[in-house]
Amino acid sequence: MDFFDDATPAWYALAILLLPAAGFCWNAFTYRTEFTRKRGHIVPLLTIGTALFCALTIFKHAVIDGDVGDTPHAASATHDAPAHDSGGADAPPAAGSLADPRWSWSSKAHGVVYRIIDTGALRIDAGITIDHLTATMLLVVTLVAFLVHLYSVSYMHGDKRFSRFFAFLQLFSFSMLGLILTDNLLLLFCFWELVGVCSYFLIGFWFEQDEPPKASMKAFMTNRFGDVGFLIGILLVYRMFGTTDLAEIYAGLQAVAEGRAALPPLFGWEAGTLLTVAGLCLFTGPMAKSAQVPLHIWLPDAMAGPTPVSALIHAATMVAAGVYMVGRIYFFFTPTALAFIAGIGTVTALVAATIGLVHNNIKKVLAYSTCSQLGYMMLSLGVGGYSAGLFHLYTHAFFKACLFLGAGSVIHAVHTEDMREMGGLKSKLPVTYRTMLIATMALGGVPFFSGAFSKEMIVEHALMWGWSHGLAHMLPAIVAIGGGGLTFFYMMRLIYLTFYGAPRDQHKFEHAHESPPAMTIPLMVLAFLSFFSVGWPMPFLGGHKLPELLAAPPALASIALGHGADHGHGGFALAFGVLVLSCLVIVFGYRLYKQTYKDRNPGPEVWVARLRPLHTTVSNLYYFDEFYRATIVRFSYATARVLALFDSKVIDAIVNGVGTVGQLIAAGFAAFDRIVVDGLVNLNGTVCHALGSRLRRLQTGNLQDYLAFAVGGMAFVTLLFLFLA
């Protein structure tokens, strides 16, 4: 029976998702027990190992057997298409067939769905979708995660928060896998932020130190910045399509592309502008997450976290989530948006590579290299190299994880991250050296290593894009080609400073020793994966290369705007040309490295002296941090202070003023009451009293007096009457 005939894949996928969550809960709730404190790695290793097994199963059925994706378009890519030349996986969609080849298997069709919210307007039915992209991504993430778990057992051994480290690794794995599996844009955003918070806690894992808390906050804030743009993009998408379900958004845009529906203008924007704006808003998320200039500043600082974290989160998986996300909603990007993505990718690839040339911290060089490679991926997606970009994501995940874990092994041995205190470690750390060298070859794009396949595909696409769009659009291609030389140079510099030459710190050199097997085995596995590449035609893929199976979805947004598919294949000549060109560039990079470091003719110091202003700028990371500190950070603090002052000195003063005025009025009335009103009353009393005390004297008690008064009075009255009459 076919694996994808019923709900079975959903249970596998759920196991992949929920096992790490369970592992997190286990470690979190039993952290006080002796078992978890000492052996906190056992349950996490089991869960992630099982998840890896499930991911392999899904990969086997979905990609190797090709069970999923049996729609006509995907089938042609999987089974009966003639073998393409090395670049042409992005077959243009056949006219009239805009059905998405990718949403081939959804758990919703088999009743596995979780209605997470329903307000009567917004309804989110969380389901799982499995296609080649998901299946491959699941495998890459679980594999690297498993190896990093294994590596951490030894690397983190003896740390007082050993079990908590594994708890966060598990939580991260859960979030990352959820991000891959979900079929809803808003839920993707949720997992997106969750991986961010895991990254936050893992960067700040050694929170007693000075650097990690700052770095973790910087990472979270930069990502929050991007996430808010992402969220606004989601709001706009929801406003346009009334849903956040990716398949429904696809269907909505498909209807527009096929002319069955129209996108009404919104806020005075036509459909084209609207789609571009929404796409760019959505892209701010990946810009922050995948460390694209100008939101790349957090990634190098994130190296303050433990090295296995750098390998898993800040090299292989989470930072690549941005690339994955762009791939997921690839159909949504208009040509303008894609050009913007290509531009950002180009700038990132170049800027980060140049910083990589001058940095002395081994992890930071790797971080900038990651940055630069992520730029390559974005560049590739932007120029239409969908499968090339995603393929580079996969190959990069392996060799970069290998490099980071190797760097961790070096740091473990010499207890420093500064390459100026290393040197000559080749003899001391043979396994680490060899594996890192293989990974360097892969990263440098040396032919036949995995990185070469993906990189050459990228270059081809960039060239074709530049060719069809005019001279100014050749920039990505130039950077992609030239960047190869830079990459090879800075990686060889890293290898040289670490492993070759004479030890620059004798004490550290003497105490260095190779890492235990729990650390070297993951290195070897990753080194093997860095060399071995599914960029070859693979017997188990039916003679296909993996990238061919990652068929790009129809460019709905472009079609909807009447652009149609962009360009076709380059053909064998182009592929060969690119290969030759890449080799030349690598040779150039190697020559430069050999001349500068091996032969010291002239040495690096001379170059630094010659290029002083440039070197200063680059060493200071192009002053991005300074710029942000002087503008956004400063502005925020100032605004906060001013508004707080306003709050207490104006608003609250008004409130208190009203109170005081009330009291004053009350005091006035009280005074009026006391002086005027009560004064009158008292005056009355006083007058009466005074009169009374005077008149009292008449009351003598003497009968003669009274008689005399009576007679006198009578006489007075009589006289009065007489007088008046």
Partner: protein, 514 residues
């Protein structure tokens, strides 16, 4: 509107049973602290159990009022004792019962004037629940005022150094709002019928008349028509409670001076009364003031603008605070902005978001104030800058604090996210620009909370906090339920949205597109 006439008097029991507790405590000798505390726990526990019953018996498919009770009270003015709950009020009743119960628990260490304290606390519970269940505007008003008095004494007697200032400020401010509400209330009553026998205070009848346009056309006063005056007066009355900028400055003072449990009640429930009042009175009785001729009116725009100001301004002011409690207080101002945004949207997403935000803020802010209380009990200060490294000293406390803080800053997967997201989604349909600006608040909120984490919990161990014990069992038992709520409502928000949906849709239907 009414689906069931309740013969069990459930709502009356929930509302009034704490009064029995007041009586019981009254006749308990003042030295018997444990007896008094146990009685208080019992008489907030009973409503909590009844509220649980209410939750299970509540028919979530109905939009109308349930558990309806109706009795005559003051016949001369047609004032009636009418109570009932719908999807908007019943979650808040449950929340109130829950928070009052935990407020008693977190007050266990009160030593001063125990008898008076717990009697007032129980009286407060009566007032708050009374407002939520009242369907007669006069009754509503009586409960509204009833709630004020215990709060005044609780802050003024058991509060911090500036307690008297804070208590008087709170009292007068709220009273000022109440007076305006009273004016509007009487005006509505007089307008509701030509002869005294036709006039009514019933919120149901007033809603019917209001929706039929009774208040829409009236004489103008100082150039503003009756409907607008009514809306304005009622709005100010409720806005002070929310609190809406610029009526918010009583809040930080009251919070800083109030004892922990009272801060919990204040932030957790009292603020919700404002949002609830806006829905129950302003929006239900005066829909025409917000939506006219197929579009939002100036009042609706003002509401959204104020929401935006709350979000951004509140967050920025919070960022400048150095007192942990004041920071949390201002963060409440920012969070309440999302309620206003959601309500201003007047569509199902927005109103549902506002309601979710009310409930979720009720649990997350309660948790944060409890957390501040825990550390204040140990350090006897709340200066953020003076703390450091608490994650090393008190790991369990730190874990729960992270949970509370991340809920508060709207991390997806935790409760706070859904309210904010839905409010924004709803509001974006009506006021896209205002919504976009409001999202700045999300960034700033994250910034000041993360700064707090960094300063208070991260960093090296400090010797002065070395001897601090981690959470006691009582503190743990107070915090963990809220933590669970934050998680459960984060991963299963349908528990709330399904509950409120019919009522939300009914309310949203008043603001049709036509």
């Amino acid at each position: 509107m009414i689906s069931t006439i309740d013969s069990s008097h459930l709502l009356s029991w929930i509302t009034l049973s704490p009064l029995l507790g007041v009586l019981a405590i009254l006749f308990t000798p003042r030295e018997k602290h444990d007896v008094i505390k146990t009685l208080a726990a019992a008489f907030t526990g009973i409503p909590l159990i009844l509220a649980g019953w209410l939750y299970f018996k509540f028919d979530q498919s109905q939009a109308g009022y349930q558990f309806f009770e109706d009795m005559s009270w003051v016949d001369a003015f047609n004032i009636r004792y009418t109570v009932g709950v719908d999807g908007l009020s019943s979650p808040l009743v449950v929340l109130t019962c829950l928070l009052m119960f935990f407020a008693v628990f977190s007050s266990w260490n009160i030593e001063k004037g125990v008898k008076g304290y717990f009697m007032l606390l129980l009286l407060l519970a009566v007032g708050i629940n009374g407002v939520f269940v009242s369907l007669d505007f006069f009754l509503f008003y009586v409960y509204w005022e009833l709630m004020l008095l215990p709060m005044y004494f609780l802050i003024g007697i058991w509060g911090g150094p500036r307690r008297e200032y804070a208590a008087i400020k709170f009292f007068l401010y709220t009273l000022a709002g109440s007076v305006l509400m009273l004016v509007a209330l009487i005006a509505m009553y007089l307008k509701s019928g030509d002869v005294p026998s036709e006039r009514t205070f019933s919120l149901i009848a007033l809603a019917q008349k209001g929706q039929a346009g009774l208040f829409d056309h009236g004489s103008t006063l100082f150039g503003m028509e009756l409907r607008s005056w009514l809306f304005l007066f009622l709005f100010i009355g409720f806005a002070i409670k929310v609190p809406v900028f610029p009526f918010h400055t009583w809040l930080p003072d009251a919070h800083v001076e109030a004892p922990t449990a009272i801060s919990v009640v204040l932030a957790g429930i009292l603020l919700k009364l404002g949002g609830y009042g806006l829905m129950r009175v302003n929006m239900t009785i005066l829909p025409g003031a917000l939506w006219e001729n197929g579009g939002p009116t100036g009042w609706a725009t003002a509401l959204a603008l104020l929401g935006m100001i709350n979000c951004v301004y509140g967050a920025f002011v919070a960022m400048a605070q150095t007192d942990f409690k004041k920071l949390v207080a201002y963060s409440s101002v920012a969070h309440m902005g999302f309620v206003l945004l959601g309500l201003a949207a007047m569509n199902p997403n927005g109103i549902a978001g506002a309601n979710l935000q009310l409930i979720n803020h009720g649990t997350s802010s309660a948790m944060l104030f409890l957390l501040v209380g825990v550390i204040y009990d140990r350090a006897h200060h709340r200066e953020i800058g003076k703390f450091g490294g608490l994650a090393s000293h008190m790991p369990m406390y730190a874990s729960l604090a992270f949970l509370g803080i991340f809920t508060s800053l709207g991390l997806p997967g935790l409760a706070g996210f859904w309210g904010e997201a839905l409010s924004l989604i709803g509001c974006y349909e009506v006021f896209p620009k205002i919504t976009a600006v409001s999202t700045i608040g999300l960034i700033v909120t994250a910034a000041f909370f993360l700064m707090t984490i960094r300063k208070v919990f991260f960093g090296p161990k400090l010797p002065q906090y070395a001897g601090f014990p981690d959470l006691s069992l009582r503190e743990w038992a107070c915090l963990v339920p809220f933590g669970l709520f934050c998680i459960v409502l984060g991963v299963a928000p349908f528990l709330l949205t399904d509950w409120i949906r019919p009522s939300v849709e009914a309310l949203a239907s008043l603001f049709g597109k036509s």
